[in-house]
Amino acid sequence: MFHAVGLGLVMYLLWLVLSGHYTGLLMTLGAISCAFIVWIVHRMDAIDHEAFPVHLSLRGTVFWPWLLWEIVKSNVDVAKIILDPRLPISPTVVRVPASQKTEFGRVIFANSITLTPGTMSVHMEDHTIVVHALTRSGADGLLNDDEMDRRVCKLEGSC
C-alpha cells in the first residue's frame, strides 16, 4: 500500500512538472490518470520494492554527488589520454567482485562503473563483473581500491 501511494505521488509530481497546467479541470484529469495507472500496475502485480526504490533516495544524497565527482575526475583523465599525441592506452579486461546482496545493488554498481569513463562493465555473472578498462592503471585502481563497491553496498544498506 505504501509503495502504491508513493508511486502515485511521484507520478502526479512528474505529471505536474511536465504538463505545466495548473487549472482545476486539468489537474483533476491528471490525478485520475495517475490513479488509473496505479490501479493497472497493481493489477499487474508489479508494485514491489524494486519498481520504486524509496529507500534509496535518502542515502543517495551521499552517493550521487560522490559518483558525480568521480565522473568528472575520470572524464578529465580520458580527455587527457585522447588529446595526448601518443595515445597512451593499455586496454585491459579484469574481473571485479561485486559484494552487493541484491540484484538492484549490483546493477547500480555495474552502471556506476560504466558511467565513469575509462571503465565499462561488459559482462556480469552473479557476483563478478567483467570490466573493460581503457588503461591498465584504471583496471588496477578498480581492483585494488574497492571504494565504489563499498559505497554502493552502503547505498543498498547491506553493510
Partner: protein, 141 residues
Amino acid sequence: MDWELLRDGLSWAMLLGGAAFSLIGGLGILRMPDIYTRMHAASLTDTMGAILILGGLMIQGGLTLVTAKLVLTLFFLLFTSPVSTHALAAAALTDTRTALQARDDGTLAPTEVDLPDDQDALDIAADEAARQSIRDEESRA
C-alpha cells in the same frame, strides 16, 4: 555585483566546457583503435558533455519549469546511457569474444576475453530440458 553577468558567464563556461568535452569525445572515437576503446571515448560525450551542457542550460533557465524538465532529462540520460553502453559491449563480445588488450611489453594485441562460465549457454540448455520434460508430461497425459 552584477548577478546577471555572473549567471551568464557561468552558464557560458559550462556550455563551452560541455561542447569541448563532446568534441574531444568525437575526436576520441576517431583516434581509438577498436570498438571498446572507442566506446570509452564516446562516454565522454554521454557524461561530461551532457552534464555540462544541460547544467549550463539550467542556469539560463533559472528556477522555472524548464529547469525541472532539464533535471529530469539529465536524470534519465544518466540512468539509460550505461544500459545502452552495456548492451553494445555485450553485443560486441557475443560477436567476437576478443578485445584489443595491452600485453606486458606495451603493445596491443587482440586477446580472447576470459569470461566466467557461459551462463547463457547453460540457461538455454536448461530451458530446452524443461520444455522437453513438459512435452513428455503432455504426451503421457
